[in-house]
């Protein structure tokens, strides 16, 4: 593993609180797996920030980021042309299973599924949110073989309801599920997958310090005991995660 520097090439606003940055990272772009992350320096801050690699082509990686606190707000101000240090790709990505993939992204969690959708080629990718104003997936270009759908709590776009309700209605035998989103959503999906005996994988999010597994800052609870989101995850088998 090496510490690398990437030039920030572009910067785009997706919604009121979500933006996308494109980094020139040719050493890792081709090999990165959906669900893996980079631990990115934010100039002037004490901790790096872990971001899922939302998308990649031959030379660049794309990060889709929701402005959440001071660090992400500062990152939004970084000017194109700036060089940012990062470690990565880190962690374990999704492991595609046989059958049709149903990819369920709650809000910003959708970012963890885009590269997987691209690599799968044929699958269904659903983005869920409270209302249409939060849904930005139409601004991501994916091949037509990836079926894009939406779910909104208020019914303003796509399926009316949350992603657990969506899955309850649309999950078919022979499918497998990849999901990332709020813990409550993943807990609901876990129960549904258990009932229907459908395999799934969840990408988890946690605050991190080292990003490498040394500091034990990002521990999560699993059926096998403590696991590190950075090193053992961020993608876990759905049935392994303990939501409490």
């Amino acid at each position: 593993m090496r510490e690398r520097k990437a030039v920030l090439l572009a910067h785009e606003t997706l919604t009121e609180d979500t933006f996308r940055i494109v980094l020139h990272a040719p050493e890792i772009a081709a090999g990165v797996e959906g669900g893996q992350f980079v631990h990115l320096q934010v100039p002037g801050f004490s901790l790096r920030r872990p971001f899922t690699v939302a998308d990649a082509d031959a030379e660049t990686i794309t990060l889709i980021i929701r402005r959440q606190g001071r660090g992400t707000a500062a990152l939004e101000q970084v000017k194109p042309g700036s060089r940012l240090a990062f470690l990565g790709p880190l962690g374990n990505g999704f492991r595609p299973l046989p059958g049709q993939g149903l990819l369920l992204g709650g809000g910003i969690g959708t970012a963890a599924l885009i590269l997987l959708a691209r690599r799968l080629g044929s699958c269904t990718l659903v983005m869920g949110g409270r209302s249409s104003g939060e849904l930005w997936l139409d601004q991501v270009h994916l091949p037509p073989s990836v079926v894009i759908q939406y779910a909104s709590d208020d019914g303003s776009q796509g399926f009316a309801g949350n992603l657990v309700q969506y899955a309850r209605k649309n999950l078919k035998p022979g499918m497998w599920v990849a999901a990332c989103g709020p813990r409550r959503m993943l807990a609901g999906l876990q129960e549904l997958l258990r009932q229907r005996k459908i395999p799934g994988q969840f990408a988890l999010e946690e605050r991190m310090a080292c990003g490498l597994g040394a500091c034990r800052g990002c521990t999560c609870d699993t059926v096998k005991g403590n696991a590190l989101v950075c090193k053992d995850g961020p993608v876990f088998a759905a049935e392994e995660v303990v939501f409490s």
């Binding site: 004490s46 901790l47 605050r207 310090a209 490498l212 040394a214 800052g217 999560c220 403590n226």
Partner: protein, 301 residues
């Protein structure tokens, strides 16, 4: 002798730079980025007799100029340390300080006794963790308790003993003197300062443990003043720790009286910081035509 050698009294290190306990695991992860034997020493994650699951998350968050953490001494216990972690680290050719923690005095004695015949630079007794309910900091705030614990460990363990002190006291020189009287060979000054952060959106504490330990550049002036005080109060070497992020910080701690330094959270912002501090310190000493030995405590005269 090389300019950059650090004299801890009980041992000389090739340089005074080491990671702070807890920030570096057992070094495996960082060994993917640089050879550990570049460092003066490695200080391990705390070892307790039994495995500890640690605190509920979130465990880390950033505050202005610093990092709050409440890991809660998560570790796999003494047996895993002895059979899996230590043999690997001992193969890396770097002096090792194993950090030891516990809930009771007996816990420290048990771990220290079990490690006593290992090839180590020494043990670092963690009498200062702010994030566990029993043990940790509760041992480190009272001079008599520190004296008693260090004396008991001294009786069962022939290795050099470094005692890591907490800044969460009225007068840090009291536990420092207690540790020295109990037989400590050196002191690490300081562990983190207790602090907290509240999320105004959720109106709840950010950390699962509510409070945590503050580290990072924000605490450097506090750490420096405590190194200064302790270096005056005791005659054993002091290892400075707290907010070190660049070579000038290292030099400041040496001038305040530290014989060596530990670097913690600044290596999160820059994972290559430790090896860079070694080379930056070499260049600094070369340029200033002086040695670590000449700098230690020089600001006191």
């Amino acid at each position: 002798m090389s300019r950059i050698v650090a004299d801890l009294g009980f041992a000389c290190l090739k340089n005074p730079i080491m990671p702070a306990s807890g920030c570096f695991g057992w070094g495996r992860e960082y060994s993917q980025l640089f050879a550990l034997n570049i460092l003066g020493a490695v200080v391990t994650k705390a070892v307790t007799p039994e495995p500890r699951p640690g605190n509920p998350g979130p465990r880390v968050t950033e505050t202005p100029g610093g990092v709050l953490n409440a890991i809660g001494l998560e570790n796999r216990g003494l047996t895993a340390a002895l059979t899996e972690e230590l043999p690997w680290l001992q193969s890396q050719g770097v002096p090792i300080l194993v950090n030891v923690a516990g809930r009771t005095e007996e816990d420290y004695v048990q771990v220290a006794e079990a490690l006593g015949d290992q090839n180590l630079l020494g043990l670092e007794l963690n009498l200062s963790c702010p994030n566990v309910r029993e043990g940790g900091i509760s041992f480190g705030t009272d001079a008599k308790t520190v004296y008693k614990l260090v004396s008991r460990v001294r009786q069962v363990c022939p290795l050099p003993l470094v005692v890591k002190l907490t800044p969460n006291v009225t007068d840090i020189t009291e536990p420092a003197r207690g540790a020295e009287a109990g037989g400590a060979d050196a002191l690490t000054v300081i562990n983190t300062l207790r602090g907290m952060a509240i999320n105004v959106r959720t109106r709840r504490p950010v950390l699962g443990n509510v409070t945590g330990g503050l580290s990072g550049p924000a605490i450097k002036p506090v750490a420096l003043s405590m190194v200064w005080q302790v270096a005056t109060a005791v005659s054993i070497p002091v290892i400075g720790c707290g907010g070190i992020a660049q070579v000038e910080d290292v030099v400041e701690f040496l001038l305040a009286g530290a014989a060596a330094v530990q670097v913690g959270s600044a290596a999160f912002a820059d994972p290559l910081l430790l090896p860079r501090l070694v080379s930056d310190l070499e260049s600094w000493l070369e340029r200033e035509k002086c040695s670590v030995e000449e700098l230690v405590g020089a600001a006191h005269s």
